[in-house]
């Protein structure tokens, strides 16, 4: 049972964290492009 829960938890957690990461990066870039912050192009 432990292996099953670990497998599903791993998949759900990884996909959720990646989604949150993409959302956060998008917000930062949008803010920078609208003049709300500086961005390092490199």
């Amino acid at each position: 049972m432990g292996y099953l829960i670990a497998a599903y938890a791993l998949v759900m957690a990884s996909l959720t964290l990646y989604t949150l990461h993409l959302g956060r990066s998008r917000r930062v870039l949008r803010k920078s492009l609208s003049g709300g912050g500086k961005i390092d192009a490199r």
């Binding site: 049972m1 292996y3 497998a7 791993l10 192009a41």
Partner: protein
């Protein structure tokens, strides 16, 4: 914004809504699925492990298609599509490699075996991880995009080898055979195919988000370069 970037930006919300609906249904189907008489509860990893593999295959196929279309049309949007597909594909491939040993430990009694299928999956992961490293360590210019496109297309050759690895091993493989018509027991087909659908929806949603982010990143880089050039003219 190209048509492809615009399509990706518009796909984020509908794919996200569909994914939010599909995920709880899939988990409910998994809970309702009957237990395997030989492997027991650990066999339910079948509803997440192969679906992640299909999403990874799709990601790498999209990398090759995007690369080929970039070489043909020289449109940066296809390069962004290829790079984004590779990143999402690598994530799903990492999940295949992570969930596989959990299943193996529960059934074979060991985490890993240097079986042909497992080794080729690891190789596939490393090939496309190298693709991302290549892109990450070099300047984002046309030469990098061209080289990455060729590399992404060449890497695709591992997918059919990986898929048919069990047949190629000629019965010496420890990994179960590919699922065929009728190989899933009664009550197992619905959660399995719904798992595949959910994984492909997750892939589509993440890909759309990643393409949108890549477009924003390229735009920010262009703006910053233009500002730097203007400043150098001013001094």
């Amino acid at each position: 914004m190209s048509k492809l970037d615009s399509l990706a930006a518009r796909a984020v919300l509908p794919t996200g809504i569909l994914l939010a609906i599909a995920t709880p249904i899939w988990l409910w189907l998994v809970l309702q699925a009957p237990l395997d008489s030989v492997q027991g509860v650990v066999q339910k990893i079948v509803y997440v492990h192969p679906p992640c593999a299909f999403a990874a295959y799709l990601g790498f196929a999209c990398t090759a298609i995007g690369g080929a279309l970039y070489l043909w049309r020289r449109d940066e949007a296809w390069d962004r599509f290829a790079a984004s597909s590779a990143e999402v594909g690598v994530l799903f491939c990492a999940l295949v490699i992570a969930t596989g040993p959990l299943w193996a430990r529960g059934t074979w009694g060991r985490w890993w075996s240097w079986d042909l299928r497992l080794t080729l999956t690891l190789l596939l992961f490393l090939v496309y991880l190298s693709y991302l490293l290549l892109r990450g360590f070099t300047e984002g210019n046309e030469r990098t995009a061209r080289f990455a496109a060729v590399y992404g297309i060449a890497g695709l050759a591992i997918i059919p080898l990986n898929y048919f690895a069990i047949e190629l091993a000629g019965g010496r493989s420890i990994h179960p055979e590919n699922l065929q018509r009728g190989s899933l027991g009664a009550g197992m087909r619905a959660p399995f195919w719904f798992g595949v659908l959910t994984a492909l929806l997750a892939f589509a949603h993440l890909l759309a988000r990643r393409i949108e982010l890549a477009w924003l990143g390229d735009r920010a880089a262009r703006d910053a370069a233009a500002a730097e050039e203007a400043a150098s003219w001013g001094t």
